[in-house]
Amino acid sequence: MAGRPLAPRIGRAVLLAFFSALFVLYVAGPVAWLVSSSLQTEAQITAIPPNWLPPEVNFGNFDAILNAAERQVTYETRRQGDPATGGFLPSGAANLIPSLWNSLTVGLWVAALNLLLSVTAAYAIAVIDFRGRRATLYTVLATRVVPDIALIVPLFLVIRNLGLINTLGALVVTYLAITVPFTIFILISYFEGIPRDLYRAARIDGCGHWGALRHVYLPLSLPALVASLTFAFLTSWNEFVFALVLTQNVAAQTLPIVISGFVMDFTTSFSFVNAAGVIAIIPPVLMAVLFQRYIVSGLTAGAVKG
């Protein structure tokens, strides 16, 4: 580096800086605007031209979300007027925090069960040479070819017949159907990258298949496992269509559903919706950034092999 002429190095630095700036603007700009909007009052947010940054940081929207308890309304305590033109907390505001917990619950269950199911199947498919191995793999992957929207109706009927409508369990089971094939795909790629001799050694040393999985494959595929956990959690956290149909009451609704309700119900204050959006972004973004290293190495096996 030191020996190279100065001009190309400066040129490279300028180019990198320029493209980095463009990148940040496009990738982070919209979220920054969302965050900025969430920290303004309704009056500030509806100013024309808009305030790029909050004139003063205002946590009122978040405060409202956190403290939006279901209150007892009587003739005396009711608010009058038609909350039509915005600036109002939506009537579902109090559902936001419970739905956050619902999302979290479903996400964690899905992440855990997804891993449990996928690990054993991926091990079997990647490691054991059994009849029907390819058929199993293709069947598992093929279930993802059918678009979600095609599955909604039959799944709704299945879930209804199982008596699971309006339960978090319905969502967990459904999301497993989405995440498991993908996770199996990732884990197979990863398992196949683990030297076969380690498997043979473990078997010779006295491991059955459970032992080989536990003593060799699991400890050695930590990145892929963490990546799978993250993928599953995010998928579950973000999912919308199934949740929309399978859960119709507050007890089981997840965050995207409640938020979409705010968006469609434009009596809601813009700043409130934006704040709700920010709240919905925080957990998955934290998780993604925290596990960044694992996500990349988890993807590696799959991507490089094609």
Binding site: R200, I204, D205, G206, G208, P219
Partner: protein
Amino acid sequence: MAAITCEKLTKRYGSVTAVDRLDLAIGHGEFMVLLGPSGCGKTTTLNMIAGLEEITDGTLRFDATDVTWQPPHKREVAMVFQSYALYPNKTVRENIAFPLQLRRTPRAEVERAVADVSEQLEIAHLLDRHPSQLSGGQRQRVALGRAIVRKPSVFLMDEPLSNLDAALRLSMRSLIKHLHQRLQATFVYVTHDQAEAMTLADRIAVMRGGLIQQLDTPDGIYSRPANTFVASFLGSPPINLVEGEIAADGRFARGALRLDLPPGAVAPGRAVTLGLRPEDVAAPAPGLASLEARVTLVSPLGSETLLEVVAPGDVALTLRVPKEWRVRHGDSMTFGIDPARLHLFDRQTEARL
């Protein structure tokens, strides 16, 4: 101790047959080497003995017990791999102790066994390291340690020395030989390296295409190769093979080349391949067939000299002669050959005649 008996052992992958009706009896405490080029089925055979590959057909017995369908962890065999296959997440100590732990050996006993084994293999100072911190030779010692700590009756070795450099290979070779003598266990050793096979084996099974070509002692394999494949696979530099036929006078003929054969060896007119090991030449002497040839290349090896020569009929041969012979490029020389040391094979079947 255990004797291993393979009866018509077969492994097929789809339409490909990797091992074809293999019969092999390995005795108690025997050191058996499976030798052959890659893809010959030797590793598959080893895997079947280990239980790592399901046996498509045939029977496998340890002593009198049919273990054909027994999974590997039930078979009491130990194995050493070319890649060492040490668990990267475990320390050396944990690696060696692992098989014992799986057998629920009491802790004190495990510790004693690990200490014992690491003493023997001179790796006691490495016990708390991870495999990634070890050299190749050290890793293979650890792998050996993990294998012998269980005191199994059958040792399976899958090219254990192939990843080591030449010097290490020699010392590990003698280590393994010592181990075999001390442990008195049955060893099945897979390699493509003929020198390893020759030095280690009680018996060698030379394999090709899923079939055993020859099963014999190292000496038997070397001096009486069953066919041209075995003949050419062993020996360095390889045996010279010359195609020709038996002339009316009972001599081997290839163009202008004529070589005396032991009388009455083969009927005249037969198409044969003649095998001549490079070292089987001497100075011309009575009782020896003589061979005229022109030297085209001289490669001194120190203790000996390698020659490439062209014999009549444009037959190119490689010969090994004592270094005392002063040979120069372009010389024409006469070599003496003991007809009894010539190998004759049928040209069609490639089998020894």
